[in-house]
Every structure is written in C-alpha cells, then in structure tokens.
C-alpha cells in the first residue's frame, strides 16, 4: 500500500536533522503537541491550547491576525522599497518617480505598501472596537489593552512618518501641518516641534529623521510590543470568549446552584 502524505511527513519528522532542530519530537499526544508549541521560540508566545470554537470567524473576526498579516506585508514590501530609496533631498522624490516609472513592478510594490498601510490602520481600529464592545479589555486583560493602545500609537506613527517619505507636496504639507500641531503643546511645544523635524522647518533633517523612525525604530518597537501582546494573550488565559469567562462561568454555576436550590426546595 502506498504511503500517505502524512506518513511521508512522519518519516521526515523522524530524521536526525529534524530532531536536532525541533526538540519536541514526534507523536500526536496532547503533551507532544503542547511541547511543539511551547518549545518553539516563535510559537511559544501563543497558547499551547486553543478551543476549536475560538478559531471560528465569529469569535474574533480574525482582526488581530489580519493586522499582523498587513504588518508582515508591510515589512516584506518595505525592505525592497528601501533598496530603491535615498532619504535625501531632492533625490527622494526622484526615487519615488523611478519606482513608478522604471523599477520592474515598482509601482505594484509601492501601492501594495501603501494600501496595506491603510488597511493596517483600519484593522487596528476595527480590532480595538471589537475588543472594546465585547468587553475583552477587562480583567485580567487590562494590561494587554494598554499594550494594544501603544501598538495603535506605533501604527499611527508608522503611517505618519511614512507619509513624508515620497517627498511630494502632499507629504511636505501634511508633515508641516502635523508638526505644527505638535508645537501647540503648552510650554514645550516648540521644542517638540524642533525635535520632531530636526529643525524649524520640514527639510532634509526631517526627512532623514522620519526615515530612520519609519524603517528602524518604529518597526522594531512594533515587533517588540506585538511579541508582548501575543505573550499576554497566552498568559491572560487565551483568546477572549464571553462564554468561557470566569465571571460568566461563576454566574452560570451560581445560576445552576440557585436553580438546584429552588428545585430542592
């Protein structure tokens, strides 16, 4: 009888190379499967066990996962975009023109980056609304909500810093307006404005600053907080479901016992 695909995979998992990489070993027992998650540096952030119903669309609408998906697209398209881009005046604008007209599929790359960025901002908000209206921010998940707010800010800052990089009129004036809003802060507003732009007006320094923020600092910060965010999901008891919350369960139990008591009477 011919081997099934699963059997080929089992053979692969038994090889020495595989075993040297994945410590958990083979086998489909609950322990082995839990170990496979727990002992992987990437996967160990996630819960070792998830209820099947939490994977249905209605539970989360996959909003968090989709947000992560757009983030991955943004990193994947952002890196090749960096190959073609000089954060200098006025070469930055010429580079965006080259991406549009000369680089193979450059326009596709740029548009994918741009639309994913828009989608990410939208998804982050949708994710927060869902969490808010479902009450998933409540104990014990308060801190993960705070992490989420930080991630919202990072997302918005990524979007804002990326807006300057094409160095066109839209970018220039958007950042001029945006940074002037910052200078409305009482007392230290002008200092913030100066710090943000590396000068008193949007120019080469601002472009370089925004480039470094957009391509280095903010993505790293986002990855860091995303890691914490995921880790806290696991630590705070997995994905939120109203039905499985302790309070609901308690109320249910209480309700049941009350009913039982009534019946007993």
């Amino acid at each position: 009888m011919a081997k099934t695909i699963d059997q080929y995979f089992d053979d692969l998992r038994d090889t020495r190379v595989w075993r040297s990489i994945f410590r958990s070993g083979t086998g489909s027992s609950t322990l082995k499967r839990a170990l496979a998650i727990q002992q992987n540096v990437f996967l160990h952030l996630f819960s070792t066990k998830v209820r099947t119903r939490m994977l249905s669309l209605s539970a989360t609408w996959y909003l968090g996962t989709l947000t992560l998906g757009t983030f991955v697209i943004l990193v994947a398209t952002g890196i090749p975009l960096m190959f073609y881009y000089h954060p200098s005046v006025p070469q930055a604008y010429a580079d965006t023109k080259d991406l549009q007209f000369v680089v193979s599929s450059g326009l596709f790359l740029r548009n994918l980056h741009r639309w994913s960025a828009h989608a990410m901002v939208f998804l982050v908000f949708a994710h927060m609304f869902k969490v808010f209206y479902r009450g998933a921010y409540r104990a014990p998940r308060e801190f993960n909500w705070v992490i989420g707010v930080i991630l919202l800010l990072i997302t918005l800052l990524l979007s804002y810093t990326g807006y300057l990089l094409p160095w066109d009129q839209l970018a220039y004036w958007a950042i001029t307006v945006g940074s002037n809003i910052a200078s409305a802060v009482p007392l230290i507003g002008d200092k913030i404005h100066f710090l943000l732009l590396g000068g008193n007006a949007v120019n080469a320094n601002a472009l370089l600053r925004f480039y470094v923020l957009h391509c280095m600092i903010l993505p790293l910060a986002a990855m860091f907080f995303v890691a914490v965010h995921f880790w806290r999901i696991r630590k705070d008891g997995g994905l939120y479901s109203h039905a499985s919350e302790p309070a609901t369960l308690r109320a249910q139990t209480a309700g049941d016992s009350a009913a039982a008591a009534k019946e007993a009477q």
């Binding site: 010429a94 023109k97 080259d98 549009q100 007209f101 000369v102 193979s104 599929s105 326009l107 596709f108 066109d168």
Partner: protein, 681 residues
C-alpha cells in the same frame, strides 16, 4: 438558476481545501497582473511599433543598428535632468526619419544644440522621468509643468540666452514688447543677471501738459488712446466718462507753464502749399514718425509718436517752440534739435497742424472743472498708478505698483485663478491675463492693451522664460546679453551729439539705436573732408536704402567741432589711419586691383564702382569711396570685415596681403573729383 449558483458555490468553496485552493488561485492571478502590466508597458509598445516601421525602409539596417531596446534616458546631473522621452521617441536622432508622419518616431528638427547635452524637458517641459504618455506630456497631480505648446517654445531658449538670437524672433519680439509697451513700469522684472528690465517707451511728463494740449484732447485720449493713434502704446483704462472728466480736470489744473515752451512766431507761413510736405520729407521726419495715408496704411518709422491726428492734439504755440528746440520742453527726448529757422518752422507747423480728424473731439464738451472734480481726479491718478509711467508734479512714482514678474514662468498652477472654461495651464493663464486683464476680477487695475494674437504669444513667450531655471542656471550655461552701455560722449561735442540725438539712430560704444550705422570706429574709417561735407549735407551710401540721415542745418563751427571729435575719439586700435597713403598708388597696382575686383573676387556683384555697367546694390556704392574711406580701413576691411564690424554681410574672402593692397589701391582711385573731371571732358 439559484440551484445552479448554489452547486457552483459548493464546487468552489464547499470544503476548506477547495476554498483554499480557489482563493489561492485567484490571489495568484491577481498577483500576476503586476508583472503583466510591467511587460505590456507603453514604451515597449512604441518600441515594437518602431521596429515594425523601420523594417520596410531602405535604411532599415542602419536604423536597426542604432536601435537600443529598453528604457532609454538622458541624464544630466548638473541640469537636474532625467529625461526618458527617448524610450518612446526612438528616432529622434535619426536624420533620415524626417519624412515619418507617425509620432513618436519622427526625427527632431535641426537645432543648434545636441540632444545629449540638454535633454528634452529643458526646452519642452513635461515630466522627463515618466515612461507613460499621459504622465510625460500632461500635467498631473504630481507634476507642475505639462509639455509646453510649440508656439511658446522659444521661451526655453530665453532661459539661457539673455540677449536676442537670430533664431528666436518670437522671444525677441516679446522682450521688446515688455519694454516698449511699458509693462516694466508697473511690473518689476529682475533679470537673472541681477539687472532690472528697463522700459523703452519713454512716456512723456505730464507736469506741463496744459502748454502742449487741451483738456478735450486729454479726455478723448484717455477714453481710447488707439482712436487717436492706432500705434499708441498707452493702454485703455476703460474709464467712465465722469472719471475721465475728473482726471483731465486734474491734469490741466496740476500743469505748470514752462518758460519758453510756447512761442508766437512773427514770420508768416509761406503760401506755397508744397513747401510743408517737402520740408517734412527733406527733414526725414518719416524716419521716426508715421502718418496714416489715405488707404489707411501707416507710412513712416515707429521711433517717435504717430502724427496722423497731431493737429487735434498740440497747440500751435507749443508745436512751434517744440520744432525750434524740443529740448526745452523735454530735455531727454530722442527728437533731434533740427536748428530750423523761423521761416522753416512757419512752413512746417501749419502742415502738421492740418493733420486732424474732425470726429476725434467732435463730441467732447467739458464744463469748467470744479475743485471736487480736480480732487477726485487726483485720487484716480494715484489709484490707477499713472505716475508709474508718467512724471506728474505732486504725485510720487508708486513702488511695486503691480506684482513682480521675475519668476512668472514658474508660478505654481495652484496659485492661479483661472477664468471659467480656460485650460488650466500657465501659458493659457498668462496669455489670458494679457488679453483681458480686467476679466479676471472686477477690481483689477491693469488696463486693456490692444495686442494682436501674435503679440500676445510673443509676450507670453518672453514671460515664460522668466522662471526658476533661468534664475538658477549654472553660470557656465548662461549666455549673457550684451549689456546696453551708458556711454555718453564728453565735452562740447558730446553736448552737440545729444542735442542732435545722434544716439536715437546711431550706436557708439554699445549705446544707441540700430537704425543707422555703428559709429564706434568712424574716426579710423572715413576721411576728414568727407565727414565735414557729409554732416553739412548728408547723402545716402547704399542704393538699396532710402536716405534717412536728416540735414541739421549745422554751422561750420559745429560741423568742424563734431568732425574733430569723431576723428580723434572714435578710432579703432586695429587700424592706423595714417599707415597707408590716400593717393599716389602706381597705375600697375591699380590695374591689378581692378582685375581682382572684377575677376577673382567679383565685387561688382554687390558694389558699384562704375555706374555704367556695375549692377550691385547690396553693399554701399563705391564710386567715390577713395574720397570717403581711409586706405588703412579699406585694407583691414578686406582682410577681415567681421573684425571691424561684427555681423556685417561682407564675406571674409581670406585675401592675401598683396591682393588686399592692390584692391585698396584700386578703390582709393575712385575719387569724387576724378569723376567730375571725366564729366568735364
């Protein structure tokens, strides 16, 4: 139907594996759009078209060899040029493709520049970096400058070439119009070399206007200057009757009499009806002034004002004083001081005063001005910026009365307000503003000019050349204009020369007009006796030109004074006047020169030495050249005419010293006296 759809849904998305497969397939197809779009690009389409087109041509092999596929670009970092136009315009450099009707494959017309040195967008504007037709040619949200319409193309020449060029008539005309129509009185135009464009229209002072003309004429003139003279450069301010009445009241009230600018003549005019016209002709008034003839055509020059209806304008006493000496009324005027005697003035002025148009002032009836009207008139004169052009006693010339135009050719479209229905481009905006300035907003003060469409195009061209690039050009690329020098001759002779307004027509040391020959080296060129004679009674030198040098009635001492000055000061360092004798050449030399003249060099093609058989009329007549020019000048002229007078049509024949010497000998024998002797015999 519904059932069918449901079964289709089941087939495609029935279980998760199918759904995954289908979604993956759709995703793959949509991803494939990107490389497909990349491949089926416009420039590749045009390159294929080009290869198909050249296949059947006789020069296919050469063209094929020159062809380079892929995106082409001209990159000029110092000019900030990245032009990819040649990706589609493949045949631009192929001279043999001039006959191709299909664009973008035709060759570029012959121009003095190499495409590789300047690219395309320097002249044509548009977005050079683009590789699609729409983005490259038309203005989009991400590019300010669409392609420049061909009729304004010379504006791009003007970015580097600050002076006039033979190949850019439209640009030259536009620049002249900016100066001549006084645009730069109100609009400051700073040129890239740091200078400011100057007006050449010389608007008259209005401080003594009541001596010269009447309030009725001022009224008619202000209402419509072109009704008085079609060539008037004064624009129409579209004033109401009341405003015109008040401005004329103010100007008359504000005018102060000037001593000596009106005279009453005791001499009576001669009764001969032809005396006036013939004096007008003899004095060559028409060299500068035009008059409309019966057919409605203008006859005469455009240096001075048109005189068709001058009788409606000037007062007789003023005209007489003006003819006697125009410098009394207007010291810097370009009109020469003719030194007419009273009899001549009495002859000329009635002739001029008879040039009237009975319709012009027929309907102008003005009551005596009230103080309120005068005050209102003064306010209007300030509001309309009259003093930007005219000197008016008691009113200061306004500073920066109208917007500066030094960078108008780069004005962002976002800063323009267009009229409804007008194409949203900068050239259309500029042309529209010149054509109908008041249409853009009711409160605007810019007056209505009566330019022809060609003049509007020329002005637009000149204004478009005033842009950011022309102001930030690398100095190595800028071709400076020859600056107009402010040369003024010194001393008594200098005074005489400005009194005679020599510089209205002649150019000396880079200063003056271009109607008559440049006199910078006149002292090396001519003989003293001839010059004295010429100044006293000028004649023409060239058969193809009408004589235009007027007779100024100079006294002997004035003629000698002027001649001495010219002979001493206007000498060329290249010509030593005394290095060759004026006469005494051997007959052998003269005969040899004659043979060269008629044989080897065929000078008679352009010049006349013997009026009986020579037919040349391009160059000056040489029948008396031996009495006119110095031998040294003739010799040097033969050797290299362009060195003595740049731009002259006389060809450089690269003569040997010996040829030049014998030709000089021959020409020096052509003396006025010699001819008379022949006649006597």
């Amino acid at each position: 139907m519904k059932e069918k759809l449901r079964s289709l849904w089941q087939k495609l998305f029935g279980d998760s594996v199918r759904a995954f497969g289908v979604v993956s397939f759709i995703f793959l197809v949509s991803l494939a759009v990107a490389p497909a779009k990349n491949y089926f690009s416009e420039w590749r389409h045009y390159q294929h078209g080009y290869l198909r087109m050249i296949r059947n041509r006789s020069d296919a092999n050469t063209l094929q060899r020159h062809f380079r596929g892929g995106i082409q670009q001209i990159w000029l970092p110092e000019l900030d040029v990245v032009d990819r136009c040649t990706s589609c315009h493949v045949g631009l450099k192929e001279a043999t493709l001039a006959d191709v009707a299909v664009q973008p494959f035709r060759t570029h017309p012959v121009i003095p520049h190499k495409l590789d040195q300047f690219g395309c967008t320097i002249c044509h504007r548009g977005q050079g970096a683009a590789t699609t037709v729409a983005e490259a040619h038309n203005s989009t949200l991400a590019w300010e400058q669409p392609i420049l319409p061909a009729r304004y193309i010379e504006s791009s020449c003007g970015e580097c070439h600050r002076g006039p060029l033979p190949g850019t008539p439209v640009l030259n005309q536009g620049r002249n119009l900016l100066s001549r129509y006084g645009c730069v009185h109100c609009h400051t135009v700073k040129l890239p070399d740091g200078s400011t464009m100057k007006a050449t229209d010389d608007p008259p002072s209005l401080s003594h206007i009541a001596d010269k003309t009447t309030r009725e004429w001022i009224f008619a003139w202000l209402k419509d200057p072109q009704a008085y003279a079609s060539t008037a450069t004064m624009p129409n301010f579209k004033l109401t009757d009341d405003d015109t009445r008040d401005i004329s009241a103010f100007l008359i009230a504000n005018s102060a009499p000037l001593p000596g600018d009106t005279i009453a003549l005791s001499t009576k005019a001669s009764s001969d009806a032809t005396a006036g016209p013939s004096l007008y002709g003899e004095s060559f008034c028409a060299s500068c002034h035009a008059v409309q003839n019966a057919a409605g055509n203008l006859v005469g020059g455009d240096v001075g004002p048109e005189l068709t209806r001058v009788g409606n304008k000037v007062k007789p006493e003023w005209l007489q004083a003006w003819l006697r000496n125009p410098r009394t009324y207007d010291p810097p005027t370009g009109m020469p001081h003719y030194r007419f005697n009273d009899a001549q003035i009495a002859t000329l002025s009635p002739f001029l005063l008879a040039k009237t148009d009975s319709d012009l002032l027929a309907n102008v009836h003005l009551d005596a001005a009230t103080p309120e009207q005068i005050a209102h008139g003064k306010r209007l004169v300030s509001d309309y910026g009259c003093a930007s052009c005219h000197e008016i006693a008691g009113i200061k010339k306004p500073e920066a009365f109208a917007p500066e135009l030094s960078h108008i050719g780069s004005k962002p479209i976002t800063q323009l307000i267009f009229l409804p229905g007008m194409p949203h481009t900068l050239p259309d905006y500029i042309a529209g503003k010149i054509k109908q300035p008041r249409a853009f907003s009711p409160g605007l003060k810019m007056p209505q000019y009566s330019f022809t469409p060609a003049q509007i195009d020329a002005l637009t061209t000149a204004l478009l050349s005033l842009n950011d690039r022309s102001n930030t050009l690398p100095p190595s690329l800028a071709v400076a204009a020859i600056p107009e020098s402010d040369y003024e001759p010194a001393g008594k002779a200098g005074k005489l020369m400005s009194d005679l307004a020599c510089f209205s027509c002649h150019r000396i040391n880079g200063h003056g007009g271009d109607m008559a020959p440049d006199l910078t080296w006149e002292g090396s060129s001519v003989q003293r006796e001839w010059l004295v004679r010429f100044l006293k009674n000028p004649g023409t030198l060239r058969p193809s030109l009408i004589r235009r040098m007027p007779r100024f009635n100079l006294t002997d001492s004035e003629a000698n004074e002027l001649t001495d000055y010219i002979m001493t000061v206007y000498q060329s360092p290249a010509v030593d006047r005394d290095s060759m004798p004026l006469s005494g050449y051997s007959p052998g030399q003269v005969e040899l020169g004659k043979q060269l003249f008629y044989g080897k060099y065929a000078c008679q093609g352009c010049h006349i030495v013997n009026g009986n058989h020579d037919k040349g009329y391009i160059g000056p007549t040489l029948t008396q050249v031996g009495s006119r020019l110095t031998a040294a000048w003739i010799y040097q002229w033969m050797k290299d005419p362009q060195a003595l007078r740049p731009g002259t049509t006389e060809p450089n024949r690269a003569m040997s010293d010996e040829d030049a010497r014998v030709l000089t000998a021959f020409l020096m024998m052509q003396k006025s006296g010699a001819k008379q002797e022949v006649a006597k015999k």
